[in-house]
């Protein structure tokens, strides 16, 4: 079906597919991979000269480099195909050959000669505490246009300088989007997300700890081919972050039937062990991690809500059911903060449970007086069923209103 589309849609405008069709493919989980690699990239390569590829500057602020590692985990398209066919990654200190002044010259050259054309990707939180001095990413090389006169280039300086000149700004990873673990209480370096550091720019947020390679590559492909994707109130592309983990979960039926895991390592729903799936927007259950090999709940551990704003403070403790949260009588501010924010998350989960309790299978099960814990099917069978479900889900497309057909 897709082959004729590609042939007919390819025109002077440089579009392969209608944007809606492309987005449908982005949502379809692992199909995105093979589609991008097998069809889109060769077309991009054939019709675009290497010089036409959009230049990309990847700046790392305060982070663990996990998002770079995750980006390189993209297998199909592999990171080399992305670098040679989709984008022109000019500056990334961990991958580039040049060091020191040679490296900085590349960055300033792109910022000035490709002004308004390059894409800025920021990984890591932006420290703004104590005159933004907690992260230094290079030197200024005497270039004009900075707010502060020091020769050392702070992450904030770099991001505000490049952010003003970039065509798109994309924040990858939870640190870059909302501060993430770098900004966890007591936030020693005074970290904020990129959007706060660049209040006048629209920032495309791709959260996750780390962000999934598909989320980054898919958003990047959308930026390159169609411009800005549709984003939600938090700046996240709705194609990847439009549904909660809980809604897409392969173990949703366990929740509905009241089959809850009692300890880590049990099969069943992890809701009672602190799963943050009900308040976390991401498509991990259908996309799965690392070339579709697994995902946290199928690994018999709870979702820790790493794509949610406020991770990790609002999502802790990871292994405790939030409404039953027990806070010992110690007066550290960390717990006080966690208490306040956990209440919000708990309210979200609580409302959801109340609704499900009233209307769902859980209520029926309990009303009938059956024991809460039922014997789950054998692991092999569960695996097979979830595989079938997964393959079906990838075929479900949203209807004309953008709602998912369920």
């Amino acid at each position: 079906m897709l082959f004729p589309l590609v042939k007919t849609m390819w025109g002077k405008a440089g579009r392969l597919l209608k944007q809606a069709d492309f987005r449908r493919l982005l949502r379809a989980g692992k199909n995105t991979y093979s589609f991008l690699a097998d069809m889109l990239l060769p077309e991009v390569k054939r019709s675009w000269q290497p010089k036409d590829r959009l230049p990309v500057i990847w700046v790392e602020a305060l982070s663990c480099t996990g998002d770079t590692i995750s980006f390189e985990n993209s297998l199909n398209p592999g990171s080399w195909e992305i670098l040679t066919e989709l984008i022109d990654l000019r500056y990334h200190y961990m991958l580039m050959a040049a060091s020191g002044n040679d490296a900085m010259d590349v960055m300033y050259d792109v910022a000035n000669s490709e002004q308004g054309r390059f894409i800025l990707i920021v990984e890591g939180a932006v420290p703004i505490g104590d005159k933004e001095r907690f992260t230094i990413v290079g030197t200024k090389r005497g270039i004009a246009g900075f707010e502060t006169p020091d020769e050392l280039l702070t992450a904030y300086d770099a991001i505000s300088y490049l952010g003003r000149r970039a065509r798109h700004v994309m924040a990858v990873g939870s640190c870059a989007t909302w501060g993430g673990p770098s900004a966890a209480y007591p936030n020693p370096a005074g970290c904020v997300g990129v959007q706060k550091a660049l209040p006048k720019r629209r920032v495309i947020n791709v959260p996750g700890c780390p962000a999934h390679a598909d989320w980054m590559v898919g958003t990047l492909a959308h930026l390159v081919l169609y411009g800005e994707p549709e984003i939600d109130a938090y700046g996240r592309p709705t194609d990847f972050f439009g549904q909660t983990i809980h809604n897409l979960c392969t173990r949703r039926q366990h929740f509905e039937n009241g089959i809850f895991a009692r300890k880590l390592g049990d099969p069943g729903c992890y809701y009672r062990l602190g799963c943050k799936g009900p308040v976390t927007f991401a498509d991990c259950p259908i996309r799965r991690w690392n070339n579709t090999s697994n995902w946290p709940v199928e690994d018999n551990t709870p979702c820790i809500g790493c794509t949610a704003p406020g991770f990790p403070d609002e999502m802790e403790p990871f292994f405790h059911h939030l409404p039953d949260i027990k806070l010992p009588n110690i007066t550290t501010t960390a717990t006080a903060v966690a208490k306040a924010v956990a209440a919000v998350t708990a309210a979200g989960i609580g409302t959801h449970l109340a609704v499900t309790w009233g209307s769902g299978h859980l209520a029926k099960t309990i009303k009938r007086g059956l024991p809460l814990r039922q014997k789950p099917p054998r692991a092999g069978l569960t695996g097979k069923i979830s595989n079938v479900l997964r393959s079906q889900k990838s075929l479900w497309y949203p209807d004309s209103n953008g709602k998912w057909d369920r």
Partner: protein, 469 residues
């Protein structure tokens, strides 16, 4: 007497290392006489951990480092299990070892090909690998092409290694399988078989590509078998536990003047004479992280870990030397070779472990933490000796101290004026072109720098830094 010009150069940022960093070299004539490595960012993870649920530590500490996340997860789990005196099922230990070992393979492939080897072979002319100011490439075209192919293959292989890690651990980096009390995912035959097939690809790459490639580099860059010697003192912790009695695959220990000596964790201290912290020499179990930005003579945010007051180098070379798998020398190329040798050993180990897994035996036993207690978790990580010291009070983390391998290697000078191992290794290195000291980059990278890890400890103001640079 010839007049030798003294020159100080600063390289900022250093490309192809893990974390924003800079290096200041004093060059006299054609030799480095003094080197300082400084990390350029601060996060304060140990402060962040205080007040949190101890069970969260294995997940949260993984966020210290994206490339060696599993190592922190393992160390934190071991510290909690040590505190609870837990009996972890052997099957669980085995599975945790597998997920961790695969992450080590991923690290070694990424480090060697993406970070280190572009110093020795001319990488493909594609941005971000252009511009490339390095001129000292010696491999003939045919061998250069071979390494170029390996480079591309390595990009796929490292992703496959993480795919294998995620197969057991949910996702990678920041694996979900690293938990105190064992491993959450019971093994199934399908998973074991799929792992074996992925592992076969990794094994093929390491044996057919990685080892021959490094031998080629050794042949064409022979002086690096001598350069970057450092102190010649090595330290390593026990790695890959097999049961609860302390049996490990790789033994811990120290090497002094080529002799292997036993290790006592109580003798590890952290010196802050040249770091911007208050206090003197403190043991990590009770050590503080109080900053003093205007301290005289300080020049680094990294503390200086010392064993009996002496600086030690750590890494796969230490692990391989102590266990007798690589004892050729202590140079820059020895460090690279030890990594490849270790990768080969570990691939074989994973294969053994996968065959030893018992499909129906338990893998996880929840641990019962005391309200108050102390725990110590020591493990060998990708870059060497990693230790987590944790104390809980009232069921919450009250004190957390981490000594990472990169802190050992990138430590500043201490009270006695002994420079850190990397700074020592850089001394006396001949430099052909002082404006582009490719030799210093090669030696610095042979330690596999990870500043994300090294600087997790600090919390502070950075004013002093401006004067230093």
């Amino acid at each position: 007497m010839s007049k030798e010009i003294k020159k100080t150069i600063t390289i900022n940022p250093i490309a192809r290392v893990h974390g924003d960093a800079t290096m200041t070299l004093e060059i006299k004539g054609d030799k480095i006489i003094r080197a300082r490595t400084t990390s350029l960012y601060v996060r304060g993870f140990e402060k962040i951990l205080v007040g949190r649920d101890p069970l969260d530590a294995p997940y949260l500490t993984q966020r210290i480092c994206g490339i060696c996340s599993a190592a922190h997860g393992v160390a934190a789990s071991l510290a909690l299990e040590n505190m609870a005196q837990a009996k972890v099922p052997n099957n669980g230990l085995l599975l945790r070892n597998i997920a961790f070992a695969v992450d080590i393979i991923m690290n070694h492939i990424t480090f060697l090909y993406v970070l280190a080897l572009p110093d020795y072979f001319r990488p493909p002319s594609v941005s971000p690998l252009v511009p490339n100011p390095t001129k000292d490439y010696r491999l003939p075209a045919q061998y250069n092409q071979q390494l170029g192919q390996s480079y591309l293959q390595a990009l796929t292989m490292r992703a496959i290694a993480h795919q294998l890690a995620a197969l057991w651990s949910g996702k990678a980096p920041h694996q979900h399988g690293m938990l105190a009390g064992g491993f959450p995912l019971p093994p199934t035959a399908e998973r074991v078989l799929e792992s074996l097939s992925l592992l076969a690809q990794l094994k093929g790459f390491i044996i057919d590509r990685m080892l021959p490639d490094l031998e080629l580099v050794g042949e064409f860059y022979p002086e690096y078998w001598l350069l970057g010697q450092g102190y010649g003192r090595l330290i390593s912790y026990p790695t890959f536990p097999l049961d609860n009695r302390g049996t490990t695959v790789f033994k811990g220990g120290r090497v002094v003047a080529g002799k292997v000596l036993p290790l006592c964790p109580d003798k590890i201290t952290e010196d802050v004479t040249r770091s911007w912290y208050r206090g003197g020499e403190e043991a990590p179990a009770t050590g503080h992280t109080d900053i003093e930005p205007d301290k005289d003579g300080a020049y680094s945010w990294i503390k200086a870990p010392r064993y009996q007051g002496l600086p030690y180098e750590t890494g796969p070379l230490a692990r391989m030397w102590i266990n007798g798998y690589w004892r050729r020398g202590l140079s820059a190329l020895d460090r690279l070779m030890a990594r490849a040798v270790e990768a080969k050993l570990i691939v074989n180990l994973i294969e053994d472990w996968l065959n030893q897994i018992q499909l129906r035996a338990p893998t996880f036993k929840p641990i019962k933490l005391p309200r108050e207690g102390r725990g110590l978790g020591l493990t060998g990580a990708m870059r060497g000796a990693l230790g987590h010291w944790v104390e809980i009070r009232g069921g919450r983390i009250a004190h957390y101290q981490i000594i990472t391998p990169s802190a050992w290697n990138y430590s500043p000078a201490d009270a006695k004026g002994q420079p850190g191992p990397v700074e020592k290794a850089l001394e006396k290195t001949p430099v052909a072109d002082p404006d582009n000291p490719v030799e210093a980059g090669r030696i610095l990278r042979s330690f596999d720098p990870c500043y994300s890890c090294a600087v997790h400890t600090v919390t502070a103001k950075q004013e002093k830094l401006w004067r230093v640079l």
